[in-house]
């Protein structure tokens, strides 16, 4: 027993075999607070941004819909209500813990029969060609390493006539708003993150990753390069967030 190999886990040493579980536990606790943080950080406006995404989805009963990087399943839940028993919603995320919380939330909301949960990387979607009527990725593309590859993968699994909706932080259209927003995201966000999840660094990462994300026109060009045509976008809340829509002809 004493011979068991140990490894660092924060400042502690834990048996190597347990680290995976410990890490999962951490993610689990962050995942659980994820919804609260979302509301707090956006003053609840993320719900409205998501509503707009649904409005542009043209989702109908019987449709197959993929919510990739779906996290706790806000969009997937709305889609499950729309597609009905004949349809199917896939809630997919690269992170197993996030997916598990997503599943719990979905069951809490009363969804059981028409939702599948799949651990998947947006860059290599494990679905057949021409499969989904609609794909959504909300606040997820930013975290993907090879975004172009992910867009191409989404293009492949969409049916002809299907649409991709990318909801993501973008570039504020006014300089003043941009300044206020910078102050907010670089100072207030990490502070809130620290208070609620005791994890300021993750939220510092969030603010930084938002700045690194391609702006409206760049993302549009990337979607076109992946094959989407036409590609349009709508700025929301002064361009802090943009919703891009690409159709696969």
């Amino acid at each position: 027993m004493s011979e068991q190999e140990t490894i660092d886990f924060g400042y502690q040493q834990v048996p190597k075999s347990e680290k995976k579980n410990k890490v999962a536990e951490v993610f689990h606790s962050v995942a659980n607070k994820y919804d609260v943080m979302n509301d707090l950080m956006s003053f609840g406006i993320h719900r409205l941004w998501k509503r707009f995404t649904i409005e542009l989805s043209a989702a109908r009963p019987g449709h197959k819909i993929l919510d990739i990087a779906g996290g706790t399943g806000d969009l997937a839940s709305a889609f499950a209500n729309i597609v009905g028993d004949q349809g199917n919603v896939v809630l997919a995320d690269i992170n197993g813990s996030m997916l598990e919380v997503g599943r719990e939330r979905m069951v809490d909301r009363g969804h059981t029969s028409n939702v599948d949960y799949i651990q998947a990387n947006a860059e290599e979607l494990p679905f057949p060609d021409n499969y989904f009527n609609c794909i959504t990725i909300a606040f997820g593309l930013r975290n993907v390493t090879d975004k172009q590859k992910a867009l191409e993968s989404m293009f492949r699994v969409l049916k002809p006539g299907g649409r991709l909706l990318v909801l993501e932080f973008s570039k504020p259209t006014s300089q003043l708003l941009s300044k206020v927003y910078d102050e907010y995201s670089f100072k207030a966000l990490p502070l809130m993150g620290k208070l609620v999840t005791d994890d300021a660094d993750s939220y510092k990462y969030l603010a930084e990753s938002i700045r690194m994300h391609p702006d409206q026109e760049t993302l549009k060009a990337m979607m076109q390069k992946a094959g989407f045509d036409p590609v349009t976008y709508h700025n929301m809340t002064g361009g802090i967030v943009a919703l891009h829509r690409g159709i696969k002809l």
């Binding site: 409205l48 707009f52 409005e55 542009l56 043209a58 009963p61 729309i82 009905g84 809340t237």
Partner: protein, 208 residues
């Protein structure tokens, strides 16, 4: 301000769904309409609202990028006048709401909505402010209470198809303009109230 309008619509949706939650009979009746989308187009002030019937609830939307089961449009003031008219059939001829699509589904929807115990006036007042809330609520109440008679009296040949007049609806709702009008009305009524108060004080001063 897209988000402003979305917020208002979300608030009304919550209210309707709460009412539905405690009314299993109405919920059951909506099952037949599952998946259908209805469009309502108010004009002056302009407001488009789409209603989608989901499995267990309704979804209200500010825009919709797909087919609809039926669409109804009309001037807000006509909705209001119709609401207070004694003889709705007569009034209808004068004010004319335009209906397109499946009147049958619309009539089921109408009867469910009017059976729900919702104070539309209060609900909309919460969203838009007292004055227009009152006006819009009249319009909605009218829709719920008398869509049946509209539908019953529609002569197929005289139906006005919205799409034929699509110029009217070509552009998305100017929610900003709408809320500005709301603010204007409120501002004016506040000023009026202030003037009344001032006059009252002057009268009291004179009487003393």
């Amino acid at each position: 301000m897209r988000t402003l309008k979305l917020a208002g619509i979300a608030a009304i949706e919550t209210l309707v769904n709460q009412a539905l939650k405690y009314d299993p009979v109405s919920k059951k009746r909506l099952e037949n309409l599952q998946g259908q989308v209805f469009g309502f187009h108010f004009q002056q002030p302009d407001l488009d609202v789409y209603l989608m019937i989901e499995t267990q609830q309704l979804r209200l939307m500010g825009q919709w990028d797909g087919d609809t089961q039926a669409e109804v449009s009309g001037l807000m003031k006509d909705f209001i006048q119709l609401a207070s008219a004694e003889d709705k059939t007569q009034a209808l001829m004068e004010f004319g709401l335009q209906v397109q699509g499946s009147t049958q589904s619309l009539s089921v929807l109408q009867s469910v909505m009017s059976s729900l115990n919702i104070d539309w006036e209060a609900a909309i007042a919460d969203v838009t402010g007292d004055v227009p809330g009152h006006l819009i609520a009249d319009g909605i109440r009218f829709l719920a209470s008398s869509a049946q008679s509209i539908i019953g009296n529609l002569d197929r040949s005289s139906r006005n198809f919205i799409k034929e007049e699509s110029g009217l609806f070509a552009h998305p709702v100017q929610a900003e303009e709408f809320s500005k009008k709301v603010a204007d009305v409120r501002f004016q009524s506040d000023r009026l109230q202030a003037r009344i108060n001032k006059l009252k004080q002057q009268m009291e001063a004179i009487q003393q």
